[in-house]
Each structure stands twice: as structure tokens, then as C-alpha cells.
């Protein structure tokens, strides 16, 4: 492990730019910390933190000048790797013939954007790994995702504090970044010093670090990382018991709790938009007035709409109950059969950004409690 001073972070950004990367990181906008292009550390949320609760998100001043002294905002890195809208292909009509033009340029590594993600949290690294399984590890590969993912340089940041809606400890996805980064920083503000302990995760990360003034971390500094991460782990605002969770949910498709949550759920789909692993999309056909050109666009979609499951005659999941049940059981149960891991990384966004403060950990708890009390609904399946 190495140590760099706070001012060296600007040099690190400059080094990334010199290598052709576009730094993207946290910045304050419209009362929230979002991810966008950044140039220097002045663009970071210096001295800001976020207060989160079910249905509540507020920025607040810290009493120091921490750069990464917040938890997570409404956005996740998926908007750069799996963009909210992207053109899949174009078509041109020539008389009775139709010519299809693939988006080869953007799918090729050399043409895909080279992002440097600054400030990626442990739960977000896990979320990327989860989406990798969806887009890269099946029979079909999403070429555009692959190109963007391969090109990305990742600067992780270990969480120095947990939010009230965080439960990464339960999901075993944090708060310490353990893999999937080029460099991992731990921000330290102690005894009048402001510095970062840096862990190298790749050869490219190590090479980049050579462009910046650094020195080896001493024992005390290295130990500080563990102390900060342990403190964060103790602050988790939420917990979720994951043992046997898949079977628990598989056995309770008829649980009365689904009716209960359906009375509260507005089916707005916020949870799916802020979720760093939700990957569903729809397609739109875009045409112009000439009638000669058509474009096929892929856009994020949400399983909370009735259109999502529409087949001629009606929607398969017409009730809000069925749609909430689909989202939660997919995230926590069927995802495991589909991709070999949970679809939830415990970031808490779905709790914070739910306008009526529905809490995934509470919904699971309610079903589990009834099971423990033997008051669960009749079992499904044979």
C-alpha cells in the first residue's frame, strides 16, 4: 500500500487524462451527488455529505473538507456502462429493399469511450460484477457493454461512513473494495492531515501511480484503512438475513405481505432506475418524416410498468402486487438461479429513493418473521 497527499489526486486525474481517459466522478448538482465528467478535485463534493432514510435524501455540510465523505447518490455507474438510451442499429429503405446498418463503431473497443470512474464504492464494484454476468458471461455477449467495460479505469474508494439505508455487510459486498479496481483509495482526515492510502489492483493502476508522488504506507497508515472500514461496517443502517433467502421467497409467492406492500407501492419504478444492477430494457423504433430512415433504440425499462409484461390480450402482471413481487423475488431469489449470485448489493438506493419509503429489508423481514412464527401462507409448488 502507498500513500498520496490530497493534492496528488489532481495529478492523478491529469495522468488519467494524458492516457486518454475521461474522468467521471461524484459532483454536486440539483441538491444531490451525481456522477458526471470532472476535471479537478474542485469538482468533487468537497465538504458535503448525504443524509439518507427511507424516502429521504438530503445534502449536508460536513465539518471537514472530505472529498468522498458521502455515501451513494441516485445514480450508479451503470449509466455509463449500460446507458439509459443507446442506438442499436439503423435501417434505410431503398425502394422495396431495406438495408440494416449496425453500430459497429461504438461496439469496438477502440471506438468506445474510455471512462475513468472516480470514487467507486465496494457495493458498486459488486454491482458491476453482477451486470458482467448478465451481459458478458452468458451465451450471448453485449458488445457495447463489453467495450465500455474493458476500457474503463476504476478508482475505488473505501467507504468512510455508512448511510442509514446501507446493508452491504449483510450482502457481503462491502464496505471495503476487495477486487475489481485499478486503484482503491481510503480517504484519511486525521491530526490535521488529509491523505489517501492507495491499494493497487492492476498493473495499469500501478503504472499510473508512478506518475504521481507517492510513498509506501507505514504500519499505522495501513492499519488506519482497516480501522475506518471496520467503523463503517458497524454503522450499517439496515440488515438483511440472507441465509436460505431464495427458498424462503420461492415458498411464499402467495404470502399476504405482497398484498400489504402493493397497497403502499406506487409502481413508479424509481427503485429499478436507481438500482445499480437492474438491467431490463425495451426498444423503440424511431423514424423520420421521409420514411426512408429508421433507428432502433434500446432504453432502460422497468418491470413496474404494465407494458413490461404485455402480450396480446393483456399484461401478465396486471396487479401492482405481482409487479412488486417480480422485482423483489427477481432481485433476491430468481437472480441466483439465473446468474449464480444475488441481484442485490445492499447499496440502499431503492429504499432511499422510494417515494413512499418501501424498504426491501423490511419486506423480506416480514416474510421471514411469519415463517419463523409458523404463520406463513400456504406453501407454493410441489
Amino acid at each position: 500500500m502507498k500513500v498520496i497527499d490530497r493534492h496528488a489526486l489532481d495529478l492523478l486525474f491529469a495522468a488519467l487524462v494524458r492516457r486518454g481517459y475521461r474522468p467521471v466522478g461524484p459532483t454536486v448538482r440539483d441538491g444531490a451527488i451525481i456522477y458526471d465528467a470532472i476535471r479537478t478535485t474542485a469538482d468533487l463534493p468537497v465538504g458535503w455529505t448525504d443524509e439518507q432514510e427511507g424516502g429521504v435524501y438530503r445534502l449536508k455540510r460536513r465539518n471537514d473538507d472530505a472529498l468522498f465523505g458521502y455515501v451513494v447518490g441516485p445514480q450508479s455507474w451503470k449509466r455509463f456502462l449500460h446507458p439509459p438510451a443507446r442506438r442499436l442499429w439503423r435501417a434505410e429503405r431503398e425502394g422495396r429493399a431495406v438495408r440494416f446498418i449496425p453500430e459497429e463503431e461504438s461496439d469496438a473497443e477502440k471506438d468506445a469511450p474510455k471512462f475513468a470512474f472516480i470514487g467507486v464504492r465496494a457495493c458498486e464494484l459488486h454491482a458491476m460484477a453482477v451486470q458482467d454476468k448478465v451481459f458478458l458471461e452468458g451465451a450471448q455477449v453485449d458488445a457495447s457493454y463489453r467495450a465500455r467495460r474493458k476500457n474503463a479505469f476504476i478508482v475505488a474508494v473505501n467507504c468512510g461512513q455508512a448511510g442509514n439505508t446501507c446493508f452491504c455487510v449483510s450482502m457481503k459486498t462491502g464496505p471495503k473494495a476487495t477486487a475489481g479496481f485499478d486503484l482503491a483509495l481510503t480517504e484519511v482526515l486525521e491530526g490535521g492531515r488529509h491523505y489517501f492510502v492507495v491499494e493497487e489492483g492492476s498493473a495499469e493502476g500501478s503504472a499510473l501511480l508512478l506518475d504521481v508522488e507517492s510513498r509506501p504506507a507505514d504500519d499505522a497508515e495501513a492499519e488506519t484503512v482497516n480501522r475506518i472500514v471496520a467503523k463503517t461496517a458497524d454503522q450499517m443502517g439496515r440488515t438483511m438475513e440472507t441465509a436460505g433467502l431464495k427458498e424462503l421467497l420461492y415458498q411464499h409467492y402467495d404470502h399476504p405481505r405482497w398484498d400489504d406492500v402493493a397497497k403502499r407501492c406506487l409502481t413508479c419504478g424509481n427503485c429499478t432506475m436507481v438500482c445499480p444492477t437492474c438491467f431490463c430494457t425495451t426498444v423503440e423504433e424511431v423514424t423520420d418524416l421521409s420514411g426512408e430512415h429508421a433507428e432502433r433504440w434500446q432504453k432502460w425499462d422497468s418491470c413496474f410498468t404494465t407494458d413490461f409484461s404485455y402480450i396480446h390480450g393483456g399484461s401478465v402482471r396486471s396487479s401492482p402486487k405481482a409487479r412488486y413481487r417480480q422485482w423483489l423475488t427477481h432481485k433476491l431469489a430468481t437472480w441466483q438461479d439465473q446468474f449464480g449470485s444475488s441481484g442485490c448489493v445492499g447499496c440502499g438506493r431503492c429504499i432511499t429513493w422510494c417515494p413512499v419509503a418501501i424498504d426491501i429489508t423490511e419486506e423480506v423481514k416480514a416474510i421471514r418473521e411469519s415463517e419463523k412464527q409458523g404463520a406463513g401462507s400456504q406453501r407454493q409448488g410441489k
Binding site: L88, W89, A91, R93, R96, A97, V98, R99, F100, P102, V134, F135, G138, A139, Q140, V141, D142, A143, Y250, Y253, D254, F279, C280, T281, T282, V283, E285, T287, G291, A294, R296, Q298, D301, C303, F308, S309, Y310, I311, H312, G313, V316, R317, S318, S319, K321, A322, Q326, H330, A333, T334, Q336, D337, Q338, Q380, G381, K382
Partner: protein
């Protein structure tokens, strides 16, 4: 075939099957792609019409001639409406084939039991056509088809032809008969007894409204047909056909890549859950 991007296909023939149901015979324009194309009965293509959109359509023609691809399309929405307006010489888009297929290899030498209902079901037509073209390779072919009223009977001519084929039985039933109806009345499940199904020799291939399939599966299992001898073709909303868009989820399965043809014992846990 590159995912998502269709290839140009020409309509080489168009046949009217019933009111609002047409079969389009498609031929890929590109020679190399056309020669490479192979499929199995039960699989589907994503069929695209310029400026309108794309829909999953089952391939009903014979896989021995994969250069000509028949798609039977019912007008139910904007894309199918436009596709059914297409005519010989028009060019549309196609990508595929996708999904799982009927167990027609495993069923060789056995009785093939087809159960369908509602307004015709193209996926089982693919299986019936396949067996008809290789009649000696299979045992008895027993076709059960249930509909609401006689007016809902599509493919009247085809049923007639199948009924006259060797070692083939056709059982038609309606909920509400008219005076001219000469076949059965009642649920399709009531006919299984008359047909004397042999559990040891039968492989069931089923497609239709899910409520009908629920009753039919229950009845067949009660009659001793093993759950792993019953195959169903399921339908869900689909946008991508390769497991990325998430729309076709059925419990842990994706109908586009794990289905559409699924063996009953592998989905029995999910089969009775409403709005899954």
C-alpha cells in the same frame, strides 16, 4: 448472426390461413446467411417491419428446407398488422432462430400427443408438420384441439387433412356448439379418456392459453403421463430474444432462451402461480 441486428428477408409467398391470420414465406436475401441458417421446430425468429418494430414469430415450415421459412402471423398489434399487409417481393427484417425446440428426436418411435387450444397455435403446427412429413418414424399422432365456439376453428382444411392421414386421430371440441357442430362438446381434457393414451409410449407437446394448459397437464399427469414426457410452449413479452431485456422472465427462466419449449417437470413449481 450479430445480436439485435436483423438481416433482410424477402416475402416469397403469402397465404391466408383464416381471417386475420397469414403465413409469410420468407427467404433471406444474403446467400451466405441463407445457406448457414438452420432451425428446429418450436424455435422462433424475431421478425421486423421497417419503421414499426419487431415481434417473435414461430417458424412453422420444415427444417429440412431452411432456406424457406414460413411464419404464421395473427394480426394482434401494430407490427403484426403491418407484416400481414406485406406481399410477395416486399423486404422485411429477420433475426434468429432463437429458443428451445420440440423433442422430435426423442419422440421418434413414440406416440406424439398434441394439445392446443384457442385461436390456433403456430408452435405446435411446426411439430405436426414435422411428424406428418416423417410419418413412418413415429407411432400414433393424436391431436387435441379445444376452442370456445365453432367459429373459432381456424385451419379447418388442415384439420381435415390431418384427420385423413394414416395413424392419426384428431379430437376437436367446443365449449358452445352450434347446430352444425358434429365433434365433441366440453373441455379438451374430457377427450383424453376416449383417446386411450398410452403413458409409456406418449410424448405430449402442448401450446395454448395457460389456463387450458393447466387443466390439460393436470389431467394428463393423472392419467399416468410422466411430467418429463410433457412439453409446453410458453409465450411472454420479448424485446431482445437473447436474455438481455428481462421482459420474458418466468420465475428463474427466460422464455426467449430457456424456452419457449419447456419440459413440464422443470417448470411445475412455477406453473400454477398466477401473474408470475
Amino acid at each position: 448472426m450479430q445480436s439485435f441486428v436483423p438481416v433482410a428477408a424477402e416475402v416469397v409467398e403469402k397465404r391466408r390461413e383464416a381471417p386475420k391470420i397469414w403465413t409469410l414465406r420468407l427467404r433471406l436475401k444474403d446467400d451466405a446467411r441463407r445457406r448457414r441458417f438452420q432451425f428446429r421446430p418450436g424455435q422462433f425468429n424475431m421478425v421486423y417491419d421497417f419503421g414499426v418494430g419487431e415481434v417473435p414469430i414461430s417458424i412453422v415450415s420444415d427444417p429440412a428446407d431452411p432456406e424457406l421459412l414460413d411464419h404464421t402471423i395473427r394480426v394482434v398489434g401494430a407490427v403484426t398488422h403491418r407484416l400481414c399487409e406485406r406481399d410477395r417481393g416486399d423486404v422485411i427484417g429477420l433475426r434468429g432462430p432463437y429458443g428451445s425446440w420440440w423433442p422430435l428426436e426423442e419422440a421418434r418411435g413414440k406416440d406424439v400427443v398434441i394439445v392446443t387450444g384457442g385461436l390456433g397455435c403456430a408452435p405446435v403446427v411446426a411439430a405436426i408438420n414435422y411428424v406428418m412429413a416423417r410419418r413412418e418414424a413415429y407411432g400414433a399422432l393424436k391431436i387435441f384441439h379445444g376452442i370456445k365456439t365453432p367459429g373459432d376453428l381456424l385451419y379447418r382444411e388442415r384439420f381435415k387433412a390431418w384427420r385423413e392421414a394414416p395413424n392419426t386421430e384428431v379430437y376437436l371440441t367446443v365449449d358452445r356448439p352450434d347446430r352444425r357442430w358434429k365433434d365433441h362438446v366440453g373441455l379438451v381434457t374430457a377427450l383424453f379418456g376416449q383417446a386411450r393414451l398410452d403413458p409409456d409410449r406418449s410424448v405430449v407437446m402442448m401450446c395454448g392459453p395457460e389456463v387450458m394448459m393447466r387443466f390439460a397437464v393436470r389431467e394428463l399427469v393423472e392419467r399416468g403421463i410422466a411430467a418429463d414426457r410433457i412439453y409446453l410452449s410458453l409465450e411472454r413479452n420479448m424485446k431482445c430474444a437473447v436474455g438481455f431485456c428481462g421482459h420474458c422472465q418466468y420465475g428463474p427462466l427466460f422464455i426467449c432462451k430457456d424456452g419457449p419449449v419447456l419440459r413440464y417437470d422443470r417448470i411445475s413449481r412455477w406453473f400454477d402461480i398466477r401473474e408470475l
